[in-house]
Amino acid sequence: MPIESTDPYRCMSCLICTKVCIADVFRMQKGKAEILYSEDCVGCFLCEIECPGHAIKVVANNKVVFLQEP
């Protein structure tokens, strides 16, 4: 499932998304989480539920995005 964008502002670099993602789509790049394997996302919502910075949103059709606003 394609990812639209990443956003450095809300990400707290806590690594939780990288730890919980069942499809292992996240990697840390320059200290922030990025979605590297977006086609593997199945929209399980775990990253959104567990992200303490509320930086991630799963939108309809299983796209997962990082929110833009700081």
């Binding site: 730890k19 069942i22 292992d24 593997d40 399980c44 919502f45 775990l46 939108v59 309809a60 059709n61």
Partner: protein, 548 residues
């Protein structure tokens, strides 16, 4: 160069779902030292977290044999009578044990909520408060008891004592890699519990990890499979085919309608309607769509607020998805589709009542098994068979020592595993996945016929022999994908080939040429085993009477 690690244990558990975790807990209880490895994240990965929070509600005051008979009928008698009886009977004890450890069962007004589920007349389901809560508790319990848990470790092959595939020896461990940094693992063990979940084709009902790795590795090692002719399908929201919920939705009274607004289950299964067994629902939906009366819809608009609120609590992911897609289930019918469920309902490594297999040293529980408990919710059967796999593995491990490994065999397997990384202009594994999905959904499909099955089997063999060896990986994540696709193809080919043998319609095997259940001539299990080059297939009569 990648790092290498060697870990030795009494019991190695492959898979971090309910079967694997209960196996690990039980084995440590009996004195084994245990490592559990998961390709994903233990307590997040696998079917349990995505499941519909449903568990069998058997109590000792119920009539066990009535429940056994009902479950056997749901599975069209493919269930092993000894195993289904044991699963139902033991499920109560396991429910209690899990409650003691902290798993939350859904209680209202001081009592467990009990509802009928698919195919159930006398049987009842109870509910737990989400797979995330359940598995987090079990992971904690396992860790507390000293189970070493290693995540992001994909087991690629079992190690056989004679170095042969298929083996005439025993299983003495496994090899695998870290799916991020490629660290190579030698996992030496006296006994292996393979609880790696089901075979699925990704982007369908089963989670993306369930690619049949455990079944395929066990098959290559020479284990006997049972009922791998049963291709599962379920119904899921069209907006996301991975969403569960049929047991609770229909248990609470939601209905299915076709494009014309007709409650079509009245035609196909007038007694149980939407609470028919999953196989009956899938078949009915497929026939409606084939007849041009699709799409089909789930209608929950008649449910009251309390029911909807309970469903939202039990199925958070489903309701989150509906919310994002602007679907209001209280007001609108929701479009549902057929979603491939792979080996989910039935089919896999043949197990005995103690979760042992045809290979010494290999024990199997949960989705990797032949699911000889198909008549009850899968998580229930996974829990009991996993628990028993750990128990049996622990007892076996007391009797045997750790075996020496043949290092030149390991080097060969290691080189083979990393080879796609050296393949510069190879094939993308995701592209082949589309072809495989097409073959599995359309050539095998809900409605099978001989011509399509033969073509499908031939095409899958071609993919396995010509395309799969040419897949490439640019990093270890892609390497994981390559081996997942390789396992998907291998098991799909077994599914297509084995389907040709069953000449009646039984459970998920719906044959156009034989659209009825034939208990006189086809009351059989189908067994499959590797013979090196391909597979041998034979049948075994199902016992009419079973259990006690």
């Amino acid at each position: 160069m990648v790092r290498e690690e060697t870990i030795s244990n009494d019991v190695l558990v492959v898979g971090g779902g309910i079967a694997g975790l209960l196996a690990a807990i039980r084995a440590t209880e009996l004195g084994s030292n245990v490592t559990l490895v998961s390709k994903g994240v233990t307590s997040r990965s696998g079917q349990c977290v995505m499941a519909a929070s449903t568990f069998l509600g058997y109590e000792p005051s119920e009539d066990l044999m009535t429940w056994v008979k009902e479950a056997r009928e749901i599975s069209d008698y493919l269930d092993d009578p000894e195993i289904i009886e044991n699963v139902i009977y033991q499920s109560h004890n396991l429910r209690n044990r899990m409650a003691e450890w902290g798993v939350k069962w859904h209680i209202e007004n001081g009592n467990l909520v009990r509802k009928s589920g698919l195919g159930m007349k006398k049987m009842r389901n109870v509910f737990f408060q989400g797979g995330l809560q359940m598995l987090s508790v079990l992971r904690g319990e396992a860790a507390r008891r000293g189970v070493k848990i290693i995540d992001r470790l994909m087991v690629s092959e079992l190690i056989t004592s004679d170095g042969c595939y298929p083996t005439n020896g025993t299983i003495i461990g496994a090899i695998g890699i870290n799916v991020r940094n490629g660290t190579f693992y030698r996992l030496k063990a006296k006994a292996v519990v393979m609880a790696a979940g089901d075979w699925g084709i990704k982007n369908a009902f089963l989670p993306p990890d369930n690619t049949g790795d455990g079944q395929a590795a066990s098959f290559r090692a020479g284990v006997v499979l049972r009922n791998f002719d049963q291709l599962g399908f379920t119904l899921a929201p069209a907006v996301n085919l991975t969403l569960a919920g049929l047991h609770p939705f229909f248990g609470h009274g939601a209905v299915l309608v076709n494009r014309l607004g007709e409650r079509f289950m009245e035609k196909y299964s007038p007694e149980l309607l939407e609470r028919s067994p999953r196989a009956v629902l899938a078949r009915a939906a497929a026939l409606e769509i084939k007849a041009g009366r699709g799409p089909i819809y789930l209608d929950a608009t008649q449910l009251n607020e309390q029911d909807l609120s309970r469903l939202k609590f039990l199925l958070p992911r489903v309701f989150l998805t509906f919310d994002r897609a602007n679907i209001d289930i209280a007001r609108d019918r929701v479009e549902y589709s057929l979603s491939n469920y792979g080996s989910g309902p039935c089919g896999g490594v043949r197990i005995r009542k103690d979760s042992s297999t045809s290979l010494s040293g290999l024990y199997v529980g949960g989705g990797t098994s032949d699911r000889s408990y198909a008549g009850v919710p899968g998580l229930t059967g996974a829990s009991v068979t996993g628990y028993l796999a750990g128990e049996s593995a622990a007892y076996y491990a007391k009797e045997v020592g750790l075996k020496e490994w043949n290092e030149s065999l390991v080097t060969d397997l290691q080189n083979k595993m990393y080879k796609p990384l050296q393949c510069d202009n190879g094939l993308e594994s995701n592209k082949i996945l589309e072809d495989i999905r097409n073959i599995v959904n359309n050539q095998i499909g809900v409605i099978k016929n001989e011509d399509r099955l033969k073509k499908g089997a031939a095409k899958l063999k071609e993919l396995r022999c010509d395309y799969v060896p040419r897949m490439m990986a640019r990093d270890f994540h892609e390497l994981k994908n390559v081996w997942e696709v390789s396992n998907i193809v291998q098991m799909a080919e077994i599914m297509a080939t084995t389907s040709l043998i069953r000449k009646d319609t039984r459970y998920f095997n719906y044959r156009e040429e034989y659209p009825y259940r034939d208990d006189e001539n086809e009351f059989k299990w189908i067994l499959t085993q590797s013979n090196g080059e391909g597979m041998k297939i034979w049948t075994e009569n199902i016992p009419y009477e079973g259990g006690r």
